[in-house]
Each structure stands twice: as structure tokens, then as C-alpha cells.
């Protein structure tokens, strides 16, 4: 609805206000009964509010023009709005099918590369996702005023900088930017899911819903459907990822009976559909990897050799030390911790990344080497509570084992 109104009136800010006003009007008006078509009702109310607004703007501009003609000589935009508004007078019936590609255009605009990443995320959730400012702020643990300010600034930039609500000529590039934002939102929801965050808005569901929209509107994009498959695979397992107390459970120890098989089946179908388009990309490769995990009946059934090879391919498509870190884990699982450590030790650029140290600690411990120092370093770098508890436990376990080993060695030397 917002996309459609923005399209008709060329003013995102005003359209957003009109939709909010219409919703508030609905709160009182609908107490005596909900209309047959709530969407059409809301659209009509919001549109009428916009037309009123345009008329007021035009009247005040006329006044300004009369008093200060030199400032308003080439300001004809208000008239353009009014024409767009009145041309719509006859059209009242609204349903989802008449949205066309406006929703996709709005998503692409929210993720425009001329906006910074945090703004893209905020706009996507607030305008395309339809969450309230309070909900988005809560999801990102920000003061609501900060979030509101960010959205206000972004809307102003969109208007003043001339950012169009059009399907861009470099669509593929722009879709890439849109998918990155959706995956970022998904990951925020995925990683923050823990006992102390139960009241946070479900960003996972929201990201999946928006990704579905993109897949529906861009059926030719294999990467969009690949991302949907990837999100679904993670989502299917997310319930088993933490205990009731919010503690992390490593993939190999997760209770696989808690995984959602229907969601995994849908992910499999989505991935298959994406891959039939023969245009591989990083999201599809990550989905194939997630699919290997999701479809393995036990942890021991996991084909780690294949996963290591997939991470190698992924690293070639999108070079990234984190991918190399994952490849090291897969190699460790396939060929033993020492083989994994050999890959880790060649890695640079992850010194400040807690999972690098956590992984190193885990592989060292499995190889029977001192690991407490790596867990300690990881602890210093993480901010996630569930991860912190997991690392503290591992540090304590390995420190005890190391003390015991040192005592044994000391005892042996003494003998």
C-alpha cells in the first residue's frame, strides 16, 4: 500500500504519514465493524488524506508564490502531486494482485547503495516490512528516537537526493544489495535468539517473509531463491540451536528430532528450483552446505569432505577469510583437527573475530593441545551472552584438563 501510494504521489514521507494516519483512523472507525475489504478501506482513507495534503500544500504554495514569487518560480511539484491524486479518484478497489512490482521497487529503494547499511536495514523493516518504529528499535536494542531519527533522515535524503522508485537499469547489482540486507536482518534474528531476547520481534520470520516477496517478484533470480532456501534451512534448525536456558548447542550435539522437517522439505524444493536455473552464486552454495547439514540423519552422516569442497568454491566466488575459517572446520571434521589447524594457521585478517579464536580453541582441544588461551581470547571479543556462556564453559573444561595434564607431566618428571 505504501509502495503504491509513494508511486502515485512521488513522496515516500507523505505517503508513510498518510498510511499511519489511516491506521489510526481505523482504530476508531473499525470498532463498529471491520469493512469487507480492509485493504481497500485503508488505501482509500490514506489516499484521501494525501489528496487533502496536496491541496493544502498547493494552497500554501500559492500564498507563498504571491508573497515571494522569486522563491517559488520553478516549484511545480505540488501541482504534479495534485494531478496524480485526482486522476485516481475513480479507482477504489485494491487487492494484492494490483500491487504489481511496486513492492519490489520499494524494497530496492530501501536498500539503495546511496544509503548506509544501518539505514537500509531500518528502512527495509520499517517501510517494506511494515514494522513500527518501536518494534524495529526493540529488535536492534536501540532507543526508539535513534531509529526514528535514522528513518526521518533517510526519507529526507531519498526525497532531496532524487532517489527514484523505479526498477533500476543495473537490476542484478541492486538485487545483490537487497539480498545482502535481507540476509543481514535474518542473521541478526538468528544470532540474537536466546533466552534474554524472547521479547524481541522475530527478525527471522520477517526476513523470510520479505525474501519470499522478492522471490515472488523476481522469479528469474536464482540467488533470491537460493537465499530463501538458506534461510529456511537455518530456520528449521533454530529451535534446537539453544537450550531452554538460552545456551548454545553445537550442531553436532543438536537434537535432530527437534528440526522442522516441513521447513527442511520446503528448503530442499526451493534450492532445487534455484539450481535448475543454472546460474550459481554464493547464496546457493551456502544453501547447499546448509542442506548437507539439514539432511544428514546423524552428525556422523555429515559429508564433511563435500562441505569442505563447497567452502572452497564459495571462497572462489566471494573471497572472505570467514569462508576459509569454515573450510578449516570442515577439513578438521573430515581429516582430523590437525589438518584443520593447518588451514587456520595460514589465515590472516580474523585476529579480532571471536569465532576464529573459539574455533582454534576447539580444534586445539580436540587435538589434545592447550586451548584455554584461545577460548580466553574469544571471550574477550564476543558480546553475545549465549556464546559467552558457551566459551566460559569450554575455557573452564580445557583449563581443568590442562592443569590435570600438567600435574600428570609434573608427577611423571618427579618420578
Amino acid at each position: 500500500m505504501l509502495a503504491l501510494l509513494t508511486q502515485r504521489f512521488h513522496d515516500l514521507d507523505a505517503a508513510d504519514d498518510a498510511v499511519q494516519d489511516a491506521l489510526i483512523t481505523a482504530l476508531t472507525a473499525w470498532q463498529s465493524g471491520i469493512p469487507d475489504s480492509p485493504a481497500a478501506w485503508l488505501y482509500t482513507v490514506a489516499r484521501n488524506k494525501l489528496i487533502d495534503q496536496v491541496r493544502r500544500d498547493r494552497a500554501s504554495r500559492r500564498q507563498l508564490h504571491n508573497s515571494a514569487p522569486e522563491l517559488t518560480a520553478h516549484h511545480t511539484t505540488a501541482d504534479t502531486y495534485a494531478d496524480a491524486g485526482t486522476a485516481e479518484e475513480g479507482e477504489l478497489i485494491m487487492d494484492n494482485s494490483s500491487y504489481g512490482d511496486e513492492r519490489l521497487r520499494l524494497l530496492l529503494l530501501c536498500c539503495h547503495p546511496a544509503l548506509d547499511r544501518d539505514t537500509q536495514v531500518a528502512l527495509t523493516l520499517r517501510l517494506a516490512g511494515g514494522l513500527t518504529a518501536a518494534e524495529v528499535a526493540a529488535a536492534y536494542l536501540l532507543p526508539e528516537a535513534t531509529l526514528t531519527q535514522r528513518v526521518v533522515r533517510a526519507k529526507r535524503k531519498i526525497r532531496e537526493a532524487g532517489m527514484p522508485l523505479l526498477i533500476p537499469s543495473n537490476l542484478e547489482e541492486r538485487v545483490g544489495s537487497l539480498l545482502r540486507v535481507l540476509y543481514l536482518i535474518f542473521n541478526e534474528g538468528y544470532l540474537s535468539r536466546g533466552a534474554e531476547h524472547v521479547t524481541r520481534v522475530d527478525l527471522i520470520t520477517e526476513a523470510i517473509r520479505l525474501t519470499r516477496q522478492v522471490v515472488d517478484e523476481l522469479p528469474s533470480s536464482a540467488e533470491a531463491e537460493g537465499l530463501l532456501a538458506l534461510e529456511l534451512y537455518h530456520h528449521a534448525r533454530s529451535g534446537s540451536r539453544v537450550t531452554g536456558l538460552g545456551d548454545l548447542v553445537l550442531l553436532e550435539r543438536q537434537d535432530r528430532s527437534g528440526w522442522n522437517l516441513d521447513v527442511i522439505a520446503e528448503a530442499n524444493a526451493r534450492l532445487h528450483s534455484a539450481m535448475t536455473r543454472m546460474t550459481p552464486g554464493p547464496y546457493q552454495v551456502q544453501a547447499i552446505i546448509a542442506g548437507h547439514h539439514a539432511n544428514a540423519r546423524t552428525a556422523a552422516d555429515t559429508d564433511w569432505g563435500a562441505i569442505a569442497e563447497l567452502y572452497r568454491q564459495l571462497g572462489r566466488m566471494a573471497p572472505n577469510p570467514v569462508v576459509e575459517l569454515n573450510r578449516a572446520v570442515a577439513i578438521a571434521m573430515a581429516d582430523g583437527p590437525l589438518a584443520g589447524l593447518a588451514v587456520l594457521n595460514r589465515l590472516t585478517g580474523l585476529e579480532q573475530y571471536h569465532l576464529f579464536h573459539a574455533t582454534k580453541g576447539e580444534l586445539l582441544a580436540r587435538a589434545g593441545r592447550p586451548a584455554a588461551e584461545s577460548f580466553e581470547r574469544a571471550l574477550q571479543l564476543t558480546s553475545n551472552e549465549a556464546e559467552r556462556r558457551h566459551l566460559e564453559r569450554r575455557r573452564a573444561e580445557t583449563a581443568t584438563a590442562e592443569t590435570a595434564a600438567a600435574e600428570t607431566r609434573a608427577a611423571e618428571t618427579a618420578d
Binding site: 539503495h112 546511496a114 532531496e160 537526493a161 532524487g162 532517489m163 527514484p164 523505479l166 533500476p168 537499469s169
Partner: protein, 120 residues
């Protein structure tokens, strides 16, 4: 809409002078760019500035005659070196046009024109 493309570059990087090998190609690429703007109906104006070593800065304060300072206002790695004022449908078109500038380093700031007294 009108947009200004502000061109920032590192002045200390070597510049080609007339007669240097590659100079004609270098100038040719800029002339071709200008021609592209003109033919596409995007050209409004543009200029290449003399280096900041020739700059004079006036520092203004209320009720005072500006203080005259030799040189650029701030020492930065990249200096403002020239601009294009172009006409484009929207930011996307302005970005696409700016991306075609024959630059291999430096940065381009794109700003919409809010008001220009001599605009038609």
C-alpha cells in the same frame, strides 16, 4: 534534476603534460566524456581547477573583513580539483553518468542542486 559532481583527487600523483606519452589519450578520454554529456543533453557546466598551490582562502567571521590565508583551507589527502554540473532524471542516472568519468583514483561526490538562480 540537476546534480553537481565534485571531483576530489590526490594532487601529488604525477600529472601528464602536453607532449608526454599518453597525454593525447588522457585528454581524449575527458573530451569524449564531455561530448557524451553534451550529446545526451546532460551538460550544464564544468571546470577543471588549477592546483591548490594556487588557492587563497578567506576566513569569514561576523562583522569583520575576511582574513586572507595562503593555500587551501584544510590539509587532506584528496583535494577538490574540478566539477561537473549535470542534468539527470534522478540519482541513479547521475550515479551512472558519474561512474563513466575517466578516473582511476580519487572520489566523486554527487550532490543534488537545491537552488540555482540562473537555472531556466
Amino acid at each position: 534534476m540537476e546534480f553537481m559532481i565534485l571531483i576530489h583527487g590526490d594532487e601529488s600523483s604525477p600529472r601528464l603534460a602536453p607532449g608526454d606519452p599518453g597525454f593525447d589519450e588522457f585528454m581524449g578520454s575527458w573530451m569524449a566524456y564531455n561530448q557524451m554529456l553534451i550529446e545526451g543533453g546532460h551538460w550544464v557546466s564544468g571546470a577543471n581547477l588549477a592546483p591548490t598551490s594556487s588557492a587563497t582562502t578567506l576566513r569569514c567571521s561576523p562583522g569583520q573583513t575576511p582574513e586572507i590565508v595562503d593555500g587551501p583551507f584544510a590539509e587532506t589527502k584528496e583535494q577538490f580539483g574540478g566539477y561537473y554540473l549535470i542534468s539527470a532524471e534522478n540519482l541513479d542516472e547521475a550515479i551512472a553518468l558519474a561512474s563513466k568519468l575517466p578516473m582511476d583514483s580519487g572520489s566523486l561526490e554527487i550532490r543534488p542542486v537545491a537552488f540555482r538562480p540562473d537555472a531556466a
